[in-house]
């Protein structure tokens, strides 16, 4: 291929193998211009400001990171997702990041009216037009089974190519099909986990190749006691130094790709029962940080 200067030349250089393959995939599979592609590959607006309270500078999510929000029901995981979504889709003039977000909803949990309420409180002048303009940056997909989730993730590649500003992927929640998969998958645990494993692999590949940040929630559905009838028969030891109730039950492939795990819990406070606690844990460096927040009309507010 004759060397062309400038943008195209950078694209086909032998050093950037990933970008070359990526470009080929996009150009054969979907509509996309070279400029759009490079807008994604080059540095975009940094995601460090996505939530300054939650992500201190050294561990803010960078492109390609996968974060897991884990907790029991009513602990604020979905509210935190709305908060992050609102931060991303609001325009820069209102304190947002002007980015596009793709929200994958697996259990019909997504409450559009709640998100609109949060946006209304955060916009300086909330009018229907401005809210719809913000919502134009949000894309919502609903999946009804784990195989449909897997196929949807495969089909997302076309969409990711054509939307360079789409760099946040939210999945609420990954564990929604857990019991259905365990029953439909056959006799051995590994065949039951097969679809989950593939989903984890595809998510990791999408996050890495398309430079996305993935936030996903997993529900805490296993009971604390080791003799619980719901839990799997072979359980891993809960790390005793953490004061969180975490029993991993998703497949190993998923546990390995998670870069940061955030545990949510409700604070049993006699003064205000609305206070929530989150513990942010990095499995690789084994560090933890605690934050507390309340949920008000305008969403999550950190203390």
């Amino acid at each position: 291929m004759a060397p062309r200067g400038g943008l195209a030349g950078r694209l086909w250089s032998p050093n950037s193998v990933d970008s070359g393959r990526l470009a080929e995939k996009c150009l054969t599979g979907a509509v996309g211009t070279v400029e759009m592609l490079l807008a994604r590959l080059e540095g975009r607006r940094s995601l460090k400001e996505i939530e300054p309270h939650l992500f201190a500078d050294e561990d803010s999510p960078v492109q390609g990171d996968i974060l897991e929000f884990h907790g029991a029901e009513g602990t604020g995981k979905t509210e935190m997702l709305y908060h992050l979504t609102a931060r991303c889709i609001l325009p820069k003039s209102e304190g947002g990041l002007d980015l596009e977000v793709l929200f994958i909803d697996t259990d019909y949990h997504f409450d559009m009216l709640r998100l609109v309420t949060i946006l209304e409180h955060r916009l300086s002048q909330s009018s229907e037009e401005r809210i719809k303009h913000c919502l134009g940056r949000l894309f919502l997909v609903s999946c009804s089974s784990s195989t449909q989730l897997l196929l949807t993730l495969h089909a997302l590649e076309a969409m990711l190519c054509s939307h360079p500003a789409l760099c946040i992927l939210i999945l609420d929640s990954l564990s929604a099909f857990y019991w259905t998969d365990r029953v439909n998958g056959g006799e051995s645990v590994s065949s039951q986990e097969a679809v989950q494993r593939r989903c984890a692999q595809v998510l990791e590949r999408l996050a890495r190749e398309y430079r996305l940040v993935l936030f996903t929630t997993t529900q805490s559905i296993m009971q604390k006691a080791w003799t619980s009838p719901e839990g799997p028969s072979a359980t891993t030891q809960r790390p005793s130094k953490q004061d969180v109730d975490y029993r991993p039950y998703l497949c190993k492939a998923w546990q390995q790709v998670v870069k940061q795990r955030v545990f949510f819990s409700k604070q049993e406070d006699s003064q205000s029962c609305r206070q929530f606690l989150l513990v942010s844990h990095h499995p690789k460096s084994n560090t933890s940080k605690k934050h507390s927040f309340v949920i008000g009309e305008s969403g999550v507010e950190f203390r």
């Binding site: 599979g29 029991a72 029901e73 009513g74 889709i89 793709l102 259990d107 019909y108 949990h109 409450d111 559009m112 009216l113 709640r114 609109v116 309420t117 809210i131 719809k132 303009h133 919502l135 134009g136 940056r137 949000l138 894309f139 919502l140 997909v141 999946c143 009804s144 089974s145 195989t147 449909q148 897997l150 196929l151 949807t152 495969h154 089909a155 997302l156 076309a158 969409m159 929604a176 019991w179 259905t180 365990r182 029953v183 439909n184 679809v195 593939r198 595809v202 529900q219 805490s220 559905i221 296993m222 009971q223 604390k224 006691a225 009838p229 719901e230 028969s233 029962c273 609305r274 949920i295």
Partner: protein, 329 residues
């Protein structure tokens, strides 16, 4: 879903299916995750044909992303808030039952869950003129009680009869019957059967514990999977058909802490969007025996911990009942 076969989508011929099967690509998922260049080389099919096939299959089986602004427009017109007919309960629920959501009423025996359901059914059928599907799984529904509630609202027998006609009752004493009833509802709405099923706006399930708790316990996974299937049915029904779903659940004691919690375990606890706990009031004495404390324990839009006192004796009848009393005197 998922086995490749001829005619599944345009362009998929029997010979292609056989060729792919001989290289261990049997389902749609296999094809979507395979490396198409390799497959093209091994099977002797053209790469472009495989790419086109994959695109068609994904378009057919994968979910399609919707834009937030479009979805908001749609929801603005289709979401309705249905008052329950009980003022204090409406305050907790932020004006009433929202369509598209599952609301759970939790309480011990005798706390008034069935009375709430009957009151809501009577109110929606009579004052809001909407159809109600009442799925009864523990025999708590009696038509005479419904009639009593309606008689407190109106003296006109025609109106009472009309309201009773709008309440469809279905009995389901195990989970398969319940899933069948929900399936029937979907079918009836899909065919747009005129008359009763046309505008079902509220589905009441009293109670969901009666059909699910026999399945739980022990090391069986099937029970939990069936429970999650029921949960998914209820939620998709609420979303797709614009229905407000109300379910009742019992309470049990937590093994470790001894506190009361809703039954059916942690997996079910994620299913409803709103949960109201009914409890009797301690030390209320004989006068307060019909009073209950309703506490909001989960809500997507109100702070939890709100409490209101409700009186069973006058449930739903206080406003209308007082008006009729005045008429008589």
């Amino acid at each position: 879903m998922g086995m490749l076969r001829a005619g599944l989508c345009p362009g998929l011929t029997e010979e292609m299916v056989q060729l792919l099967r001989s290289h261990r690509i049997k389902t749609v998922v296999d094809l979507a995750s395979a490396d198409l260049e390799e497959v093209a080389q091994k099977c002797g099919l053209s790469y472009k044909a495989l790419v086109a096939l994959k695109r068609v299959l994904l378009a057919q089986f994968a979910a399609f992303p919707l834009n937030g602004a479009d979805l908001y427009e749609e929801l603005k017109t289709s979401t309705a808030i249905l008052s329950t007919g009980i003022g204090s309960l409406d305050k907790l629920l932020d004006a009433g039952l929202y369509t598209g959501e599952v609301t759970e009423i939790v309480g011990g025996p005798g706390s008034g869950k069935t009375q709430v359901c009957l009151c809501v059914a009577a109110h929606v059928a009579h004052s809001l003129h909407q159809n109600v599907l009442y799925i009864d799984s523990n025999g708590g529904l009696t038509a005479s009680r419904l009639l009593q509630l309606l008689q407190c609202r109106t003296r006109d027998e025609e109106e009472q009869a009309g309201a009773l006609r709008r309440i469809q009752v279905a009995h389901a004493f195990d989970i398969f019957q319940m899933l069948d009833r929900l399936h029937d509802l979907r079918g009836a709405v899909a065919q747009q059967v005129s008359g009763s099923s046309g505008t079902v706006k509220v589905v009441i399930v009293d109670s969901v514990t009666a059909v699910v708790s026999p399945l739980l316990g022990g090391q069986q996974r099937e029970g939990l999977a069936l429970m999650m299937q029921l949960a998914r049915e209820l939620k998709t029904l609420a979303r797709d058909l614009g229905i407000a779903v109300m379910v009742t659940n019992h309470i049990t004691r937590d093994r470790d802490s001894g506190r009361l919690k809703p039954a059916l375990g942690r997996s079910w606890s994620f299913v409803p969007s709103t949960r109201v706990l009914l409890d009797s009031i301690e030390g209320a004495g004989t006068a307060g025996r019909s009073q209950r404390m309703a506490c909001l324990t989960k809500s997507p839009r109100q702070p939890t911990g709100l409490q209101e006192v409700v009186d069973i004796r006058t449930w739903g009848t206080s406003e209308q009942g007082a008006a009729l009393q005045e008429e008589q005197t």
